[in-house]
């Protein structure tokens, strides 16, 4: 049969690669003969060959003695794919479509295997295929494909390179844990692979960032979905540990990725992962030097780097939905009716379950609130650069009053999420941290809340405290803001009823 003949060709390929180094001319000759003899002449042949080679690779993995070389066929298949991408003439079909076709077939074989074997499915040969593909591609693509002699081909490959990673990233998104739980651990290992993650982080013009955010979101959503307050399945705990470690590595190597994408990442980070949230929020750009936040003489307004607004990769304005116009109009010319429109449109159409600390459901659109708060902060920082600090560091400015109105008109739940969203911007010293520090301090001491003052103060203290009592890291902005509240002469935290009511909290605050 056609399939048997293809298997023969593939087996010969596997044998060849064991006998000669992969840059030997015989390897190129083999590929050239494959093409000449029409082994892969049509789409259906490519599909059939890919299926046969993958099924053989997976089969040989399953049958091999586990102490021997179990990935020989898999690794050979990876080298075949890379050679096909590099050596063929792509004048009629484009490389990207060809690569996607092969990957699609791999996906279908994968899906069928895991669908049929269910909990005896073994992820390892598939993991190995993707891992080896990434390694083999790195080898050929290094130094702008300098190993490729044909200059025209080399130029095409340089052009194609980022597409290679983007195709892999898009397929990884399809393989996410919620879709294929039997592949979860391999998946997490793949998104953090040394030949994938650093590459995606460093593609020129941040070309890999959107997809990375999507992949991290896939991971966070999976964790969020299956982290219950009562009990977390052991396997999910292990997932969390791995995720934490990956985020810490990213914070070390590429903190700017966390800095610029904090908004999107936090939209999917469950509340209960307090420390992970702090890891994301306490990242700061590599060349910024941070003054000691515990220095009692520190005043945020004297910190020079607070002139700089942080970069925000994804503009939250895109998430404002129907409130974009009212918010922007209000910022230009505040009015009570615009304020009412905003305040009444932050609710969801139905309850959603949420594993919060102290709550199980949300009736507000938290993402929308996060978007509004960040958008206002971005605009305030821009306004400060355009005009003066007084334009925004001013309780009468529209930037301030928009947020204050949300608190005034809002339910306890709205207040809570607005304050949380503000706290998410209290990060390393920058223009947003400085402005939101001003906002929160003034909210705390303001007399405009009337009988709601104590509730709002409690929400503020709770929000800051929960981010400080966790193990490190702690955000600079949170420490500085909390210290400002502790030092406050207008109001002593120790006198507040909700502090006095709970001895544990009283003790913590006294200690601080």
């Amino acid at each position: 049969t056609n399939k048997e003949r293809m298997l023969l060709v593939f087996t010969e390929w596997v044998k060849l690669l064991q006998r000669v180094p992969s840059d030997d001319v015989k390897v190129a000759v083999f590929i050239s003969q494959m093409i000449e003899k029409g082994v892969l002449s049509e789409t259906n042949n490519v599909i059939e060959f890919t299926k046969a080679a993958l099924e053989l690779s997976v089969g040989s993995f399953k049958e091999s003695d586990p102490t021997s070389e179990v990935f020989t066929a898999t690794d050979a298949f990876s080298k075949l794919i890379v050679n096909l991408l590099v050596l063929q003439d792509f004048s009629e079909v484009d490389r990207s479509s060809y690569f996607k076709l092969i990957f699609s077939v791999i996906t279908f074989v994968f899906s069928e295997d895991q669908g049929k074997t269910e909990n005896t499915f073994n992820e390892r040969p598939y993991f190995r295929l993707f891992s080896s593909l990434l390694c083999d591609w790195e080898d050929i693509s290094s130094h702008n494909f300098v190993k490729v002699e044909d200059q025209r081909c080399r130029a095409q490959l340089v052009e194609f390179n980022k597409e290679f990673y983007r195709v892999i990233a898009s397929f990884l998104h399809a393989y996410q844990p919620i879709a294929f739980p039997g592949f979860s651990f391999a998946w997490i290992t793949l998104i953090s692979h040394r030949m994938f993650l650093p590459k995606m982080l460093k593609l020129p013009e941040k070309a890999g960032w959107s997809q990375l955010v999507l992949l991290f979101t896939d991971l966070l959503k999976f964790m969020a979905q299956y982290t219950k307050k009562q009990d977390v399945p052991d396997a999910v705990s292990v997932v969390y540990k791995g995720a934490l470690r990956v985020f810490l590595a990213v914070a070390n190597d590429a903190p700017e990725f966390l800095v610029e994408n904090h908004y999107e990442l936090l939209n999917n980070l469950p509340h209960v992962y307090m420390q992970l949230r702090n890891v994301v929020l306490s990242a700061f750009p590599k060349h910024v030097s941070i003054p000691n936040p515990y220095n009692p003489k520190l005043s945020i307004d004297t910190v020079k780097i607070c002139d700089q607004p942080p970069n925000v990769f994804y503009d939250p304005v895109h998430d404002l939905k129907t409130l974009k116009k009212p918010v922007d109009n209000y910022l230009r010319i505040p009015s009570a009716s615009l304020s009412r429109t905003i305040s009444s449109n932050v609710f969801r159409s139905e309850y959603e379950k949420d594993n919060g600390i102290g709550f199980d459901t949300v009736s507000v659109d938290v993402k929308l609130i996060n978007a509004i708060v960040l958008h206002v902060g971005i605009e305030a920082a821009l306004e400060k650069q355009r005009t003066t600090a007084n334009a925004v560091f001013n309780v009468k400015s529209s930037y301030y009053t928009l947020l204050a109105d949300l608190l005034n008109d809002g339910t306890t739940e709205v207040r809570f999420h607005v304050v949380q969203a503000i706290a998410n911007q209290l990060r390393y010293p920058n223009a947003h941290t400085q402005w939101f520090n001003y906002v929160l301090k003034n909210f705390f001491n303001s007399e405009e809340w009337g009988e709601n003052k104590t509730e709002i103060q409690e929400i503020i203290v709770r929000t800051l405290l929960e981010r400080i009592v966790t193990n490190k890291p702690h955000c600079w902005g949170i420490i500085v803001t909390f210290t400002d509240l502790l030092k406050s002469t207008e109001c002593s935290l120790m006198d507040l009823p909700f502090v006095k009511d709970v001895p544990e909290v009283e003790l913590i605050i006294k200690h601080l």
Binding site: C135, R194, Q275, N278
Partner: protein
């Protein structure tokens, strides 16, 4: 409340809780310490 991250950072090769000048993702073995016992070959380039 989270955990003390020092051992986790140490396992990653990040000393003293400070961002190290060394990139760790390029030699990252696996997300879990338990599956990271052997080193992996990082990318490298050999000139012609």
């Amino acid at each position: 409340l989270g955990i003390d991250l020092s051992p986790v950072l140490h396992s990653l090769g990040i000393p003293n809780n400070q961002p190290s000048r060394n990139r760790v993702l390029d030699t990252f073995q696996s997300p879990w310490v338990e599956t990271s016992r052997s080193e992996v070959e990082p990318k490298f380039f050999v000139p012609e």
